[in-house]
């Protein structure tokens, strides 16, 4: 599964994407964020307020409760500031 990071989340992690293989008990976006934080102090700090992180699975915005099974690309990013 590929993870994309954008904006200050990308900067704080110092990477725009990475390939990950979470274990089978990581079922939702919330689980995925928790698992990423647990494995990396930099990620733990960057996502210390997970409630402000938005997520998309395969280019569709989803809530943190969304299941990641079958996802090819999960994107994590701060609130958007378009327009």
């Amino acid at each position: 599964m590929k993870i994309l990071y954008f904006a200050w989340l990308r900067e704080r992690l110092d990477r725009g994407e990475e390939e990950v293989s979470p274990p089978s008990d990581v079922k939702t976006v919330a689980d995925l964020i928790g698992w990423l934080r647990a494995g990396d102090p930099v990620a733990d700090l960057a996502m210390q307020r997970p409630e402000i992180i938005r997520a998309a699975i395969d280019a569709k915005i989803v809530p943190h409760s969304a299941l990641i099974a079958g996802a090819r690309i999960v994107a994590l990013f701060p609130p958007m500031t378009g327009g």
Partner: protein
Amino acid sequence: MAIRIITETFDPGAELNAFMAETAGAGAVATFTGLVRSDPVDPITTLTLECYPELAVSQIGAIEAEAVARFGLMRATVIHRYGTLRPGEPIVQVMTLASHRQAAFDGAQFLMDYLKTDAPFWKKEAAPGGERWVEHSAGDDRAKARWR
């Protein structure tokens, strides 16, 4: 309906004329053009927009379809840039075509309110004193909420 997510600049007036070339009897066109703002007292040197293009196309497509259905628009176009822009350059333009002015105005405002909060762009300002990410605005959330 049309969506253009681009890095190069665009010509606002030429886009308006192209949009109006096929009016098919409709009488009202509303246009909003967003430019890179720079406060004379606290100027910026550049504004850089980061973008997730695949998500931008799907999100803006959904927003446009909703605007067309909700306000009975005959057509809507959104142009949104990303990359590094200088003060005064156009960032975004939305154009709506309707039979009557209120629908055209409402459609354009609805599109802008949703783009501000739901389109995957992130703005970073560079100034002589350094760089900073533009923070998400609670006012933009309120502007979007009025359409619910």
